[in-house]
């Protein structure tokens, strides 16, 4: 395997939500992201995907644990210089294309924001030239620089957001549900653009989404999250061929098939009950209250997140280390 770009070690992010109550949004998550790959992160609403992404991006201070970028700790307190360096290498694409662009700014200022704050002394014309180059890269035109965000469609706005993130040549991009607010026909456009840019600039992505088939299309590896923890992590092919965790199996069985005949025969694993509140997580395995294989062991001890075969990690008592 190629070298590790980003390593997350036992990362926890708890929020205080009242007296003696903590919401465990991200609870002891560890994984690695390799250089040049796309790691997809899926899970249902409220399972902590976005919190994880934002904690990696230093928007939240982690409760404990570490984030290492190229072997250097970037979580916790950094000097101004280190912080700037960090900003230059990691960027984020946001979920809602309507909220992620300042409605009062012109496109040229939105895209150039990174250039401005990185102290690169550019003349007006150089700055605009750079912006036009970025806009053309994401399929927009020179004429768009003087426009305001409200004049664009959702897909176009999302591409402006991508251009903004690319302005300072990052190596690593967290894409926080970049397509979930878009129309299906536009989703493919944006995902293909992300793929193209990845080849061109050898980017590394952490791609957060809840549409598992879209994630399969773009990702090399997929991680599945449930209630703040990773339950399974493996290559996207293995994930679809041989899902191990009961939760992953249920998720995969919910994907509709394009072939109507196959779709008719598709059998769904329907999960009982609802997700427990992340404020009040059951003992033992987090999934035990909804798992049809749950045993006493599951209700008592929390399973470790371990590697059952080469590159296939799972947190379930049914799979012991070989």
């Amino acid at each position: 395997m190629s070298e590790v770009l980003l390593e997350i070690k036992n990362l926890k992010k708890y929020f205080e939500v009242g007296k003696n109550q903590t919401l465990k949004a991200v609870d002891d998550v560890s994984f690695q992201i390799y250089k040049g790959e796309t790691l997809g992160l899926v899970g249902e609403s409220g399972c902590g995907k976005s919190t994880l992404g934002r904690t990696i991006m230093r928007l939240y201070h982690p409760t404990s644990g570490e984030v290492l970028y190229n072997g250097k700790t970037i979580s916790g307190h950094l000097s101004r210089g280190e912080e700037k360096e960090c900003c230059r290498k990691m960027q984020m694409i946001f979920q809602d294309p309507y909220m992620s662009l300042d409605p009062r700014m012109k496109v040229v200022d939105i895209v150039a924001e990174g250039l401005d704050s990185q102290n690169t002394a550019l003349s007006r014309s150089e700055r605009e030239e750079q912006v036009v180059k970025l806009l053309e890269m994401v399929g927009l035109q020179k004429e768009h620089v003087g426009r305001f965000p409200h004049e664009f469609s959702g897909g176009q706005r999302q591409r402006i957001g991508i251009a903004r993130a690319l302005a300072i040549n990052p190596e690593f991009i967290v894409a926080d549900e970049p397509i979930s607010a878009l129309d299906v026909s536009i989703q493919a456009q944006v995902v293909n653009l992300l793929k193209k840019l990845q080849d061109e600039f050898s980017l590394t992505y952490l791609f957060i989404a809840h549409d598992i088939s879209m994630v399969k299309y773009i990702s090399n590896r997929i991680g599945v999250m449930y209630l703040g923890s990773l339950v399974e992590l493996t290559s996207s092919q293995t994930m679809f061929d041989n899902p191990l965790h009961p939760y992953t199996q249920a998720l995969l069985s919910a994907i509709p098939l394009p072939d109507p005949k196959a779709e008719k025969k598709r059998s769904r694993v329907v999960l009982e009950g609802t997700v427990p509140s992340p404020v009040n997580i059951p003992d033992g395995c987090k999934f035990c209250s909804r798992c049809r294989y749950a045993t006493d062991e599951c209700r008592k001890t929390t399973p470790n997140f371990h590697e059952v075969e080469e590159g296939h990690w799972v947190a379930c008592h049914r799979y012991k280390k070989p």
């Binding site: 909220m99 300042d102 009062r104 924001e113 990185q118």
Partner: protein, 307 residues
């Protein structure tokens, strides 16, 4: 109608390339232009705006048209009704009322605009720092505001007037001491709403400093609230000044403000009602027009109503 068979050769791929597809044909308009266009559609606001502009022009230029000034007394011509010589008549010392009314309007507007600008400056700075830093700083800053609100405004003003010499400066300071509180609260609420929005997070990730975030993102997006609140602060400052002058702790003769004029007109209401009537009409026009314009601006710049 003839039923035509649809065959494949009737269809050709569209020639529109990428350029065509991404084109926006509408002319570009900023939020300000949008608001201006909507304001122009609101008849009441336009009328209010025109009346205000006329009043401001008269306040600045009115005394020029008259050969008299606001302080020269003429005991041979006291209490003259409006006539060709003295358009608004004269008062008990024979001073020209036309000159005094517009001079008074000028002073009243000056006090109001300066007081509103101070409110704006202090309120916006205080509110944005308080909301952006958050946590303990925010809590302390909010308690300070609550204490200021707890003290009745009039008491602060009257105490200050007793300590400091009566005059325009004292009036402005007295009104500004607690006047900015409202603005600070509004701005804080607005920025609390904005600061976790994704475009602010994106700015932070791009390494934009707090100062730049306030100046480039937060304040422009709060501009609507700020402008509208200012539009309501100005008439209330005019009113406070008039009230203080009316009860006798504001400006002193021979200086004139609308409040001073109304006060001296009030004393002779039975015999010379025009001395009360004219400044009263001016102050009413100012108050009503500012309120209508403020309402119109609020509607015009409401981002939820963007077309």
């Amino acid at each position: 109608m003839q039923n035509k068979e649809l065959t494949k050769d009737l269809f050709v791929p569209s020639e529109a390339g990428v350029v065509e597809r991404e084109k926006i044909s509408r002319p570009t308009r900023s939020g300000f232009q949008d608001g201006w266009i909507r304001l122009k559609q609101n008849k009441g606001s336009v009328v209010a705006l025109v009346i205000l502009l006329i009043l401001v022009a008269l306040a600045l230029l009115g005394p020029v048209f008259s050969q008299y000034n606001y302080y020269t007394t003429d005991y041979s011509a006291i209490f003259q009704a409006p006539n060709a010589q003295h358009w608004f008549g004269t008062d008990k010392f024979g001073r020209d009322e036309w000159a005094r009314v517009w001079y008074g309007t000028r002073i009243s507007l000056l006090i109001a605009v300066v007081a509103a600008s101070l409110d704006l400056l202090v309120g916006v700075t205080y509110g944005s720092i308080s909301s952006l830093l958050g946590g303990r700083v925010d809590a302390v800053m909010q308690r300070v505001i609550e204490v200021l609100i707890g003290i009745p405004n009039l008491i602060i003003v009257i105490l200050l007037m007793m300590v400091m010499p009566a005059g325009i400066g004292t009036l402005i300071i007295a009104m500004s001491i607690s006047g900015w509180v409202n603005m600070a609260r509004l701005v804080r609420a607005e920025i609390l709403k904005l600061k976790n929005q994704e475009f602010v997070l994106a700015a932070r990730l791009l390494g934009t400093s707090n100062r730049q975030i306030i100046l480039k993102h937060l304040i422009p997006n709060t501009m609507g609230v700020i402008v509208i609140n200012t539009m309501f602060t100005i008439p209330s400052a005019i009113f406070t000044e008039a009230f203080l002058s009316f009860i006798g702790i504001g400006l002193q003769e021979p200086k004139a403000s609308l409040g001073v004029l109304i006060n001296s007109g009030f004393q002779v209401i039975n015999s010379h009602a025009y001395l009360l009537f004219i400044p009263a009409v001016v102050i009413i026009l100012i108050m009503v027009c500012f309120s209508i314009l403020g309402d119109g601006l609020r509607d015009a710049f409401d981002p939820q109503m963007r077309i």
